[in-house]
Symmetry: C2
Subunit: 217 residues, 2 copies
Amino acid sequence: MQTLTEENYLKAIYRLSLDDGNKITPTSIAEAVSVNAASVIDMIKKLTEKKLISYDKVKGAKLTEKGAKAALLIVRKHRLWEVFLHDKLGYNWDEVHEMAEQLEHIQHEDLAERLDEFLGYPNYDPHGDPIPKSNGEMPKSFTTFLSQMAVGKSCRVVAVKDTSSVFLQYLLQLSVSIGTKIKVMDKVAFDGSMSIQIGKDFTTIVSQKFADSLLVD
Amino acid sequence: MQTLTEENYLKAIYRLSLDDGNKITPTSIAEAVSVNAASVIDMIKKLTEKKLISYDKVKGAKLTEKGAKAALLIVRKHRLWEVFLHDKLGYNWDEVHEMAEQLEHIQHEDLAERLDEFLGYPNYDPHGDPIPKSNGEMPKSFTTFLSQMAVGKSCRVVAVKDTSSVFLQYLLQLSVSIGTKIKVMDKVAFDGSMSIQIGKDFTTIVSQKFADSLLVD
DNA sequence: AAATATTATTAGGCGTCCCTAATTGTTTAC
DNA sequence: GTAAACAATTAGGGACGCCTAATAATATTT
């Protein structure tokens, strides 16, 4: 079992390990957890002793299998709680993060399982980030927003970053759902709004906010 | 804002203030939070400085208005989370307490409100304890113990006084939960044990300790 | 009332996690 | 290849919340 602080370090190291290529240094960890580099050295010692990470001046820090498992559970809980806060309590996606930062540390043997079941086994959190499964598997993560697509390109809707009912109803009205093909016809530099063709023939104009809320592939 | 530890002290002092008559001493607080009396003295100083309690060698400790408000919010959150864990995640009532101890400290301006709304504004937690309302009001709390019922009378379980898992599991085994009908068949003057009929047809004998731990109406 | 027991308090110290300042290594620039 | 810059580390210390041991204050016995 880890302390709250240790968990936050593990999570930070996990996040840093996804930005592949870069070695995970005391300095980068310090920045990630908003702490002085000297403090990180202390914690590196502690986490190394607990066999949660390995550390090497040359290779930097790396999660051990045990550490990775712990980190993934924290991320899993964080994202599940975000879904709860968003879908069940009606918070919008910019409010859920800070609370999830606290909730992710709640300890109980099968809490994540129960929560997952209660929420209907969601694959993505309200921000479109994939929720690790209990077996450690990760749903494919999508990172391209409709707003990032070039004019003339076609894509397919894979996730929604905003899951509010007002947005979902708007999507319903536009006949947009997971799998829908969208072609970018035009972009307005001024406000980021874009003209898109939905499916075969229907064309409409959507705002940047809209285009920032759809993940595509 | 209080630290997690401060909140636990406030909650303990609040609980002690309900056992009316008894003055709240460093020793009684120490026992309630499972800590050495010397540590309590430190915290009494801190809470006094923060104007959350007042302390007087003769009168003992007492929550200020500010402290009482903070304590009541913690209790409110604790009990709401218990309802969530029980009703939504399907935990037994003997499992919810320890998780609620953690969840009660989650900080967010209107979290209690949202949770309350989501749960349908429950008046009682899974143990039958009243959930403080956002305006500070308290649903009626029950004061009649099963042990006070006369022979031949019927009643309904409304709350449990003892929330230890060993007791709650015993209840589970007897199929006794909130709402269960109980009829007092006989009482043994010698040791206060009683013969009770649970529900329609099952009859058993329980100790005075048991009968003192069930609140009925 | 004096002796004894109990409670409250002070003093000093420990572990965790943080800091600043000083030192040692390691790059990068010239 | 050396100077300057940057990164890693050590040393020492602080706040928080806990402890034990010693002492002071208060209750309880006798």
